[in-house]
Symmetry: C2
Subunit: 328 residues, 2 copies
């Protein structure tokens, strides 16, 4: 059996990069002359919105499923997910001939649920505000002999997500550019843990910050306290992809070492960032995927004259919400 | 003085590629597993929507302006454009320190007019349904000693656009894929002339087709007649970027040689294609930029089991129209 609970390292990210070679899409790192002039900085947008399944989650999912034993692959996999990990697992499973069962919140954006089913996965729903997906999930997985692939507390998942950081470093190096700052959305913290580990090795002078929505800034608060702190709860956000309860057990120890701090943005700032991405990059970003870009646009950290990267982590947004946001 | 009126060749496209190296963005060639399953073909979308200024036009504009004599550069440049060539010229001029004056239809989408002014160009407007931009344009250029850079009937412009074709061939080759079919939007025919010339050299088995909106299918009709035929006029289309009156003088002789035929789509088919690009590629396409993708999605040509490329030529669409289109 694979050890999902080990700590990810730069080496494990390199191994993921080999596994994912030719499978993941090297997503574009975009820059806008007009926006740069407007903000007085050089801003790059890493468009994981254009990754297979519309988010970075495919990286970690495929990296994990590809490494399962043939017995595990035959037994099927199980995942709980607000939607993007679900799609990543579902497509990876389809590509590798594995049966996938996914537990999703009943208020998951329709597009994410439809896509997950579209990739051949079986979808079960629960109420994210009253039930624990971890408890329901462990029970279903145990009873059916399925291999549970957690969305972030999994060594191979984090390592897969970290290949985003390798790409950012390589794409900047191709342009002879070094980023002063990289901001990355944080839900459970898998993407930013992997990305910051990769950047620490490949671009040690780049400071990495997490970005989170208001009321769900558990990574920011945990970084300030030096220990994992849960959100107080009872609040909602349009950033459905990253409204996780608290930092991960495996991700937080990494992020505590690698991150320079945490940033927090309001839903309105996220809406505005989504409009700016439409305008300047012709790129559709979902709310949870836009928090890093929003944090940079609203000066949550001083970027004047600097070279900065915002990771746009996903683009799976229902058209009705996108229309409402574009209306301003 | 430069000879703008020569016929473009594969060699002139290679020279353009050298000039544009490190300047243009190598735009992504995207593929969606879900969409491929849906249509029973392997479809790649070449996202020139993500080129600087949001359309391919930057390629030809920069290639031309970079080659002007220093006297021509000092004298300033002039262009008429429905909006995308305007932005390409404006940004290129700004980057090269040249003053640009642009004549645009008064019903140009606001986003295109704002962006053009944002790049520092002076904008003059006219009524596209009653006035001739060619006549007004020549007059203004002559009176002010400006160098007129036409949107497609210019050797360097077409050669610059042709670098899109080089990229498509290279990006497909990286994946060991050969396209059976490539469909490309056609207004005056500059993009498709350059792209088809490049593909003819680099991927001779790929058949290239033009795509145009209903009532503005002058390239299709001209190809069928073997000679340049104008649209009958009196009609409108949401595809503002490509509602040109007839094929270009320099572009058509190229397209007559290189193209396998012309395809035509309705505005409703374009709207549907824009929604599909939002859904599958998280990519914002403007109406004129979506005609090739629309032609493939609606079976204007048999793509069953084939590998096909649609060029998405631009993404400059006003948010209100985009919202209306997303509403379905």
């Amino acid at each position: 059996m694979l050890e999902f609970d080990k700590a990810p390292t730069y080496q494990s990210i390199l191994e993921a990069a080999q596994t994912l070679e030719g499978i993941v899409r090297k997503t574009p790192l975009l820059e806008s002359h007009a926006l740069n002039t407007e903000i007085g900085a050089r801003l790059f947008l890493k468009c994981e919105t254009m990754q297979h399944t519309g988010s970075f989650k495919f990286r970690g999912a495929y990296n994990t499923l590809r490494r399962l034993s043939s017995a595990q692959q035959k037994g099927g996999v199980f995942a709980y997910s607000s939607g993007n990990h679900a799609q990543g697992i579902a497509l990876s499973a389809q590509m590798l001939g594995i049966q996938a069962t996914i537990l999703m919140p009943e208020d998951t954006p329709q597009i994410k649920m439809d896509n997950t089913r579209g990739y051949g996965a079986e979808v079960i729903t629960y109420d994210r505000y009253s039930e624990s997906r971890e408890e329901i999930g462990s029970k279903i997985a145990d009873e059916n002999g399925l291999t549970l692939v957690k969305p972030y507390d999994n060594h191979f998942v984090i390592s897969g997500q970290g290949t985003t950081g390798i790409e950012i470093a390589e794409q900047l190096a191709e342009q002879d550019v070094t980023a002063d700052i990289c901001v990355c959305p944080a839900g459970g913290g898998g993407l930013i843990a992997g990305t910051s580990l990769a950047l620490k090795e490949l671009s040690p002078s780049t400071k990495v910050y997490s970005a989170e929505p208001e009321y769900f800034d558990d990574t920011k608060v945990s970084l300030e306290c030096g220990t994992r702190v849960a959100n107080t709860g009872g609040k909602k956000s349009i950033c459905d992809a990253i409204v996780t309860p608290m930092p991960g057990e495996i991700t937080f120890p990494v992020n505590k070492e690698t991150l320079s701090g945490g940033l927090m943005v309001t839903d309105d700032e996220v809406r505005s960032a989504i409009r700016e991405a439409f305008h300047h990059f012709k790129c559709v970003i979902e709310p949870g995927g836009a928090v890093a870009f929003a944090a940079l646009l609203t000066g949550k950290i001083d970027i004047s004259g600097k070279t900065v990267v915002a990771v746009a982590s996903g683009g799976n947004i229902d058209p009705d919400l996108y229309r409402e946001i574009l209306a301003g």
